[in-house]
Symmetry: C2
Subunit: 739 residues, 2 copies
């Protein structure tokens, strides 16, 4: 049984809320308790991509600084179902609670919170269940069962007055408390609570219907912005509460969608809904479970993270996966490069059908990226906003925001990878080609030729502890891929879907001349190499900077909260993997990678949660399995042990994915090299083994690694595979030892 | 008669307000009209350095970003003295006004605004005068005379409810409307209006007493935050209004100071005050007038600018000279490097006694600079705030703010120059040495040694169109001067005031070892030279950037308002002189300077008002008098012709000074080279000649340039002079031809 458990009733509430949050990619509900005092909790419910726009205030404004920002809206709070026993509210105290357990039941897709409650001589048993329907994304179900020899009352709330979370001292969450959702209607009609609200600035509509079912009689009451349903019984009480949601960003006819959803819901019992949910999860685990053998805790942690990935993935055009998924308000619900570089690879290997909506999201905002490119000073091309929901730039600090031009190449990379891994020409024809062409154009606009080659100046690479630099290795490498992909995609479509090619080239006015320029820039792309150190330079100035004493300055970490940016930028110190990340995407010579790894690792703070998993993956690649395993552990427990101290604001989704990748592209060394499958199976000595099924170009495969490796073709035609650089034809099973 | 005139009654009011603003270095009053509709004016009265602190809000905050900013407070508005004729208010219309003149009488130190006013068949004559007393800085006098055959009423207002000016779209003025001054008391006692207020946040006290004198009977009225004095007469009316001011920032006992001031004021008639004022100005023009012969307009403009410098200079420890002096609210009353690099040189040559208070101001805020240094990541030393009033950093955009470390070297440079030009060892002993030592320490903290020498990375030089660069030529040069000055000052004090040296070295713990490090860093300071172009590189990356097409992009100027910073930074384009400014302070080889001038000039937008005068001065130095004269003209008329379009927000004081410097250090080529006077007199063909008296090391000298030059020692002992690089001993007069 895959169950994640927390048995301490007094565990830090805001952290608990994040860890047990439920989602289905459309809606997300944090695990706020009905008994908790509100002040220590972040009682959030969200809809993916349901944002409002709020003013962005700059201390000193310059041209092109955004004056508005998207912000994920905290929507109406339906979480509270308070229990009263003999008229007194249940309040958790060390004396009153026994047998407390909080469980995320990952095979059923529900959470459970149950405990015994002592009231004088009497003992009550209280059991809450919750479910975010994976079948009907607008549906969230609460269920409550109470056993108590006495009078039981359940008071269920719908609170329409909600405020987003803010902390004026932490740049990683919103800095101003704001009410983003205004109530238009809150009323009870035939025992149903109907809510209609709208975002304060964008006037997007949110519609909800909350139903209650109980074995006891129900009464309803609406007072200003709070609706209450009460059920009173004796001995036992069962109350079921269903939240049905719909909104105008995602549905053309939100009222119609809400009606449809209510209709479906009203025809299904909770037991039926649970059965459907379990079916979906059974399929998920069967087709996609990554299993490690050795430490049971680690296996549970890994499955927990896999579950989070699965439940946070949008199953339709609802947006992308935010930095925190739908588990919290950190980074204001914005989508970053995390999606393309960390999250998508997991889906591509394990469940490519979940990748497509995320790729399609980037196409939805292509027009905004074109506009942004003009604002940033380019004459054409697409320049994606560093952080956004609706497509507009929402980064308030451009040196570590808009300056990260690499995002546009990251998006092109993700689309190209999807095409190569699944031979998905339709995706290219539908939108991928257009995005890849438009992002390729960006590099011609931003870069320039000189006698040394093609340079890209004044951008920020993945490492945010150096900003606005010249010829960042990662950026230049990814830009080169982007430029080359444009040529490849052009040729592929010319061969396989010339109509689509004609449509897109006509639409955007792409010429053969431009393709020639793409190729020229790619061929001459500057990738800086330092002869003295025998490594690639992260950028043109990095290796010339003075050292930063990591040990002596450990107390200043994370540096972003304790050191002025200028002082950080002035030193050889990294927030996160940069050149090393590039190596996981396109290899350099073995000894250069090895020296680079040692050099950059010694200068990396890992202040970014996106760092350790990458170093771990590269350590696997270089054969340092001890180190790889250590990074894997750190990555695995980052949220579960709250090692960054801010998991209350939401899960670090990139790292969540990175933990899974640590096995796929780390230990197993999976790669897709221009449409060819490659692997280098390795096993850290701390693990007895691991196994996972995966997909590649229409095949289903399974890899098991223990003392040796066993690669099995589960379905599909035979396929060439590179194992440790050697070519094999996989027709059924390939087996061998591991290095 | 030195008079600056504007005879159009419908001239743009906000511009008029700036151009005719009056000041005495302590208070400043814009020339707001009593008849103007308020909405098109900026009715400002200010006290130098009288600030409040307001929150600084960042879109995304990082460590060390200021959370508060100083803001010059608009104080109570005493400007309005409305005239009513036969009960009807005077309102200027094209039909009703004749013989309008607005004059700044620069020999009397007053402004005059007079006009005839037609009312039906009757004609009134109305005459306003104003004076900011140069003798009693807290005193401002208004006088009104009306002739009219009928009933005349004058209504004089004191408005206590005032708001600072704001424009949310222009980063160069405040972005939020705020009330910074709160009223504590406004009342009339024995025909005197007493006001007491305090700044909203810092609770600094402002005290005022407004008196009225008239040949007609006066009545008073206070209604909420407005006090009114009314005088009614027939035929003629005279009304005099005196504003007496005092504040708790500048006076320990502001109430006592106010009493003293009233006492002095009440014992002087307006005629007596005017006579004193005229005396001060007579002395000023006699001792300090820079005169050009040729174009009368130019001469008037030049005197106008000289007058502005004189009247804006603080005559005591009241602060510094803000970017706009006391003529407007642009840049929120902050002090910048403008003081040290543009304004002080004028005072040093012409009126060094006005330089000392400005230098002393920097010592007053040294402690804040020490604190700022720690925040910025240094372990010691003084790092002056880029823009400030009280000493705290008030820059909201650090790449073009805090990153301009050169300010600290600029301050050291100004102190060293003052010492060298006037042999002012007392200033060094009193405070100069401490500032020079502490700023020298900054460079050891910020820079680092490598095999190439001593580098200063990640700072911004004077040119704000390249930011966060390595080895900016200007910065490194000035830092080298700073480091060397520390050694010099140490030696000078050891010789001439060892007690003072001991006091300061003990206070700050300065060691011989540190001095050795200063010398080592200075000796190894990297000054980048590009062999290919034969010029100094502005910084390590500038010359590698792609070109910016100035001509094609002329419509985008000023770039800061129309192009994203990243796009600006990415190109070879300058906002203002940078390396060329360095050359005016320390010369390089002639041909390097010449090539550098051509190279950088062709890439400079002059979007900064601090740019053209510098290019002009260097053009003079290089013998291109046509160009020098053209720059001089542009500089001369920048505010008078409002060529930057924002003179309404105040005069561009650095450029005002730059215009005068264009003659002193430009045409005449005055330099102080390590305590030795040097000049290279030149004359643009457009001028018949120019002359000015000046001071140097206790001497008074006069230079006249016409067909030839004539340098006369007016007083003091003979002195060695370098003329065109040749040594002469000046005992009485030296004459020669000009090149």
């Amino acid at each position: 049984m895959r169950v994640f458990t927390q048995n301490d009733p007094f565990f830090e509430p805001a952290l608990d809320e994040t860890l047990f949050s439920l989602s289905n990619g459309y809606l997300g509900v944090r695990a706020s308790r009905s008994e908790s005092p509100e002040e220590i909790a972040i009682r959030g419910t969200y809809i993916n991509g349901f944002y409002d726009r709020v003013p962005m205030i700059h201390a000193e404004k310059a041209f092109g600084f955004p004056d508005k920002t998207d912000k994920l809206v905290r929507i109406i709070d339906t979480q509270t179902i308070r229990v009263l026993l003999d008229g007194e509210a249940v309040e958790l105290t060390p004396e009153s609670v026994e047998n407390y357990r909080h469980e995320l039941r990952m095979e059923e897709g529900i959470s459970l919170r149950a405990f015994d409650y002592m009231k004088g001589e009497k003992r009550a048993h209280i059991r809450y269940e919750r479910m975010a329907s994976l079948k009907e994304p607008g549906l969230f179900v609460y269920s409550l069962d109470v056993d108590y020899e006495g009078e039981i009352e359940a008071e269920s709330l719908v609170q329409a007055e909600v405020y987003n979370f803010s902390d004026s001292d932490d740049p990683r969450v919103g800095q101003h408390e704001e009410r983003l959702l205004m109530t238009k209607r809150l009323e009870v009609i035939q025992e149903k609570i109907f809510y209609e609200g709208y975002t304060a600035s964008t006037k997007a509509s949110l519609q909800a219907c909350i139903t209650h079912h109980s074995d006891a009689p129900l009464t309803f009451q609406v007072e200003e912005e709070v609706a209450r349903a009460r059920a009173r019984g004796r001995g036992t009480l069962h109350l079921e509460k269903r939240l049905h949601l719909s909104d105008s960003y995602h549905y053309e006819d939100p009222a119609g969608e809400l009606l449809r959803l209510q209709d479906v819901s009203s025809n299904s019992s909770y037991a039926e809904l649970k059965a459907e949910q379990a079916q979906i999860l059974q399929n998920f685990w069967q087709e996609s479970a990554v299993t490690i053998e050795g430490d049971v805790e680690e296996q549970r942690a890994l499955h927990y993270l896999q579950y989070q990935l699965f439940q946070n993935a949008p199953r339709g055009p609802w947006g992308n996966i935010a930095a925190k998924g739908l588990s919290g308000e950190g980074y204001e619900g914005h989508y970053f490069w995390d999606s393309e570089i960390y999250l998508l690879p997991v889906f591509e290997w394990l469940r490519p059908e979940l990748a497509t909506p995320m790729l399609a999201y980037r196409y939805q905002i292509l027009e905004e990226a074109r506009k942004r490119s003009l604002v940033m000073g380019q004459k054409r091309g697409a320049c994606y906003a560093w952080r956004t929901i609706s497509g507009i730039e929402c980064s308030g600090y451009f040196p570590a925001g808009s300056a990260q031009y690499h995002l546009s190449a990251d998006i092109a990379h993700a689309m190209m990878a999807h095409y190569e891994m699944h031979d998905d020409v339709d995706m290219l024809a539908d939108f991928g080609a257009e995005v890849i062409f438009e992002t390729a154009r960006l590099w011609l606009e931003v870069g320039h030729f000189d006698e040394e080659g093609f340079h890209i100046f004044n951008v920020t690479g993945p490492d945010e502890y150096t900003a606005i630099v010249d010829d960042n290795y990662y950026t230049n490498l990814l830009a080169r891929k982007n430029l080359r992909s444009a040529r490849t995609v052009y040729d592929v479509l010319q061969r396989r879907n010339p109509q689509a090619l004609q449509r897109v080239t006509e639409k955007i006015g792409l010429t053969e001349d431009e393709l020639g320029e793409f190729q020229k820039a790619a061929a001459q792309m500057v990738l800086l190499y330092d002869d003295r150190l025998g490594i690639h330079a992260q950028d043109s100035s990095f290796l010339h900077k003075p050292a930063w004493d990591l040990e002596a300055n450990r107390h200043l970490q994370p540096l972003l909260l304790n050191v002025h940016p200028l002082s950080i930028y002035r030193h050889q110190v990294l927030k996160q993997a940069d050149t090393i990340l590039a190596y996981t995407m396109e290899e350099a010579e073995e000894d250069i990678m090895r020296r680079g790894f040692d050099y950059y690792e010694a200068r990396t703070t890992h202040d970014s949660s996106l760092s350790k998993c990458v170093y771990g993956i590269m350590a696997s690649r270089l054969g340092d399995l001890d180190k790889a395993y250590e990074y894997f552990r750190d990555s695995l427990y980052m949220d579960l042990h709250n090692t960054h101290g801010n998991t209350k604001d939401g899960l670090h989704m990139a790292n969540v994915a990175g933990s899974v990748l640590s096995i796929l592209t780390g230990f197993a060394g999976l790669r897709s090299q221009g449409g060819r499958l490659a692997l280098r199976p390795r096993r850290p000595k701390e693990l007895q083994g691991y196994r996972f099924p995966f997909r590649y170009r229409g095949r289903r495969l399974q890899l098991e690694v223990g003392e040796g490796y066993r690669l099995e073709l589960l379905s599909g035609s035979p396929i060439e595979v590179l194992i440790e650089g050697e070519e094999y034809l996989l027709t059924d099973v390939l087996e061998g030892g591991t290095l």
